[in-house]
Symmetry: C2
Subunit: 411 residues, 2 copies
């Protein structure tokens, strides 16, 4: 007798928690991902800013699922889903047949039709991108130290973050700390404390999902850390030497893109119309209309009033697994209900904002809560210990231990 | 009044210890390196085999020298030395004038006239190379798990290390441990324990600088760990699918080069004939004949009966600095005398060989000494704590925390 085949595409929070929730189910599970690791994305900005090393926030999926005997992990990339055929077509053309499919392919950077900006302003979705950003940031100070021309030096000492969401705010706050504290006293020709960190946001406030009061508090905390916050500026051009906003121009050699993501293109192969953000509309049980055997979870799923954050993806992943188990047992599926445990965004040392239930608070208490929550949720116990000791060390010394330029930046 | 200008090329053990020994000297010191970090090379094989992360064994030179007010660090690459002109010419064509020059440029991988082998068999000299090797090793198991053809699967599960010196022995021993322990139970289609690790050495024993008895002990320890040791085999070809030794052929998708290094090409620009290994012959005070203002230290210096190991480079670096200080004080220079504190080579868990004075020992006591010595010498205190906790964790769990494939391997 052979078990029903379940395929899960993607090993982010949605895919991994779905896989683990199928631990005891009588299925043959195949989990695919184009990388070999689950990534703790909420801390990816720390890798990009040299606070943590890549392995600190990632764990091999193979190791996490090692003891789950019904699961096979394959490091392959899905090209498209053939919904009629019940098969996932891989990049190499081979096919993976399924009885149930969970699509947890997440999102990718989105440049609003200006893909040519990507080379000058990398986004922050993968470890490779985080290391590329780290290299660019560290290399900029090295170039500034060498530069003879004052204008060139100023451009190397200007750091622009485009986008005032959670990622942009975290990056800008940390960049300011690096300039003012981490690098202090280590250069002879430049003063890193004079570096400019500019956060550009198109709307009229940072952190739009939060209340206007918290957005205002976040902006003030950013400015206290040394970040220049420009609101209501629309970026119209990004090139190797800076950013253009309509008639305005800011020269900078380092630009980071945190202004937008769109859902994985895989969503468009499911045969249903996707929404403007590329997300797949789903039924209340998380399945695709007309295809109860395909469930979509995480950033790729369009579920009303559910934010694109890790806890939501986890809950959807677990719920999709639950509904597959119920179908196997001949039971009716249950509708997905999002449990809102609140939202937290960190800005920098002792600076954060929090919305927990009806509570809204900011500053040190919010930062402490953020710290504890993130250490707690780092999946792997080993990581938790190491990250804690590294953070304690960095907090007292202002040092960032991953300040390593492995290869020169790509030109 | 301006101070004499001292330039140091290279921030390995020789260059860094020379710079630190000039801490209180009345000089204007410029330290250049093509990377931004000092690398603890004795543990580089641990990065290549996923035991440590890159930042664990590296520290920004700028941070190490941050408080040394007479020192400026520049991340630039030297192209050549113009000895007559007392200037170092950089890659961008600009020049750095010196009154004293310490050349500590080290060594590079050497393929004995077969540079085309480099693409198929990366060597282990830099962090970038270590991460490339790590990616290839981890990716090989992923490919094996996917492979349908038994012959292809076998080639992905064969790992060849060319060269039986200290680096080759460390790599082979660790590769065997990964196959037999780290990955156990995590694959469904292959048994990683069946992977073959073959160490190929041209001479008739591994670890030639050690006594024949210790070489034999090392060989036996390697075989006990699961390594196949082939002695007296000369490699005549390396390609994408394996290694040829005369009429013999071994198919393997992963080949690592540990068979040889040659001195930095910078040595050939000093205007004196170099030896067969590209090393620069030096006077007893470590200066270049006819150029008392140029001193050569570390792997680049040809000093009789001084091994190419970190402690020797440190001693030479300190001695070169001492002799510059003596020249500034109008004192006669002192001849360099190498203090031999012994040599240690690790092979794997509880396996190592040691020669300390007249003592020769192997196995667990040698391994323990190796462990303590390496933790002690890791330059930076933070690193020491983190590495210790990581090793303790790995020792008990057999896990290797840096098992992360950041980008797919280059084709």
């Amino acid at each position: 007798m052979s078990f029903p085949r379940v395929v899960i595409i993607g090993c982010g929070f949605g895919g991994l928690f779905a896989a683990q929730a199928l631990r005891k189910a009588p299925v043959t599970l195949t989990v695919i991902d184009r990388t070999n690791h689950h990534l703790f994305t909420p801390l990816l900005y720390q890798v990009a800013t040299a606070g943590l090393s890549a392995p600190d926030i990632s764990a091999p999926v193979r190791h996490i699922l090692g003891r789950q005997r019904n699961a096979t992990m394959l490091m392959v990339e899905a090209a498209r889903v053939e919904a009629q055929k019940h098969a996932v077509v891989l990049q190499d053309g081979s096919e993976l047949a399924y009885d149930y499919l969970i699509v947890a392919a997440g999102s990718v950077n989105h440049y609003f039709g200006h893909d040519e900006w990507a080379a000058h302003a990398p986004g922050l979705k993968t470890l490779a991108e985080a290391l590329e950003i780290r290299t660019r940031i560290l290399n900029a100070y090295e170039e500034a130290e060498r530069a003879e021309d004052p204008r060139e030096r100023a451009a190397w000492l200007t750091f622009i973050v485009i986008g005032g969401g959670a990622t942009g705010v975290e990056l800008a706050g940390t960049l300011a700390e690096i300039a003012r504290h981490t690098l202090r006293g280590e250069f002879r020709r430049i003063d890193p404390g004079k570096a400019r960190v500019v956060l550009i946001e198109g709307s009229d406030r940072v952190l739009p999902p939060y209340t206007p009061e918290l957005s205002e508090k976040a902006r003030r905390q950013l400015e206290r850390l040394g970040v220049t916050v420009w609101l209501g500026r629309r970026v119209t051009g990004v090139d190797a030497d800076g950013v253009t906003m309509g008639g305005e121009r800011l020269e900078a050699k380092t630009v980071i893109w945190a202004a937008g993501v769109t859902s994985s293109p895989l969503g468009r192969t499911l045969g249903v119309p996707v929404d403007r953000a590329g997300r797949v509309p789903v039924e209340r049980d998380l399945s695709v209309t007309g295809h109860p055997e395909i469930l979509v979870v995480g950033d790729l799923a369009a579920v009303e009033s559910v934010p694109a954050i890790a806890p939501a993806a986890k809950q959807m992943g677990r719920h999709a697994a639950l509904n597959i188990r119920r179908s196997l047992d001949g039971k009716a599926r249950l509708p997905f209900q999002y449990r809102d445990y609140g939202q937290l965004a960190t800005i920098g040392r002792n600076a954060a904002v929090a919305m927990i239930g009806k509570l809204r608070f900011s500053g040190y208490p919010a930062w402490l809560l953020w710290l504890l929550a993130h250490i707690y949720f780092l999946i792997n116990f080993r990581n938790r210990l190491v990250v804690m000791s590294e953070w304690a060390w960095s907090y007292w010394t202002y040092q960032r231990y991953a300040r390593i330029i492995i290869s020169p930046p790509k030109k």
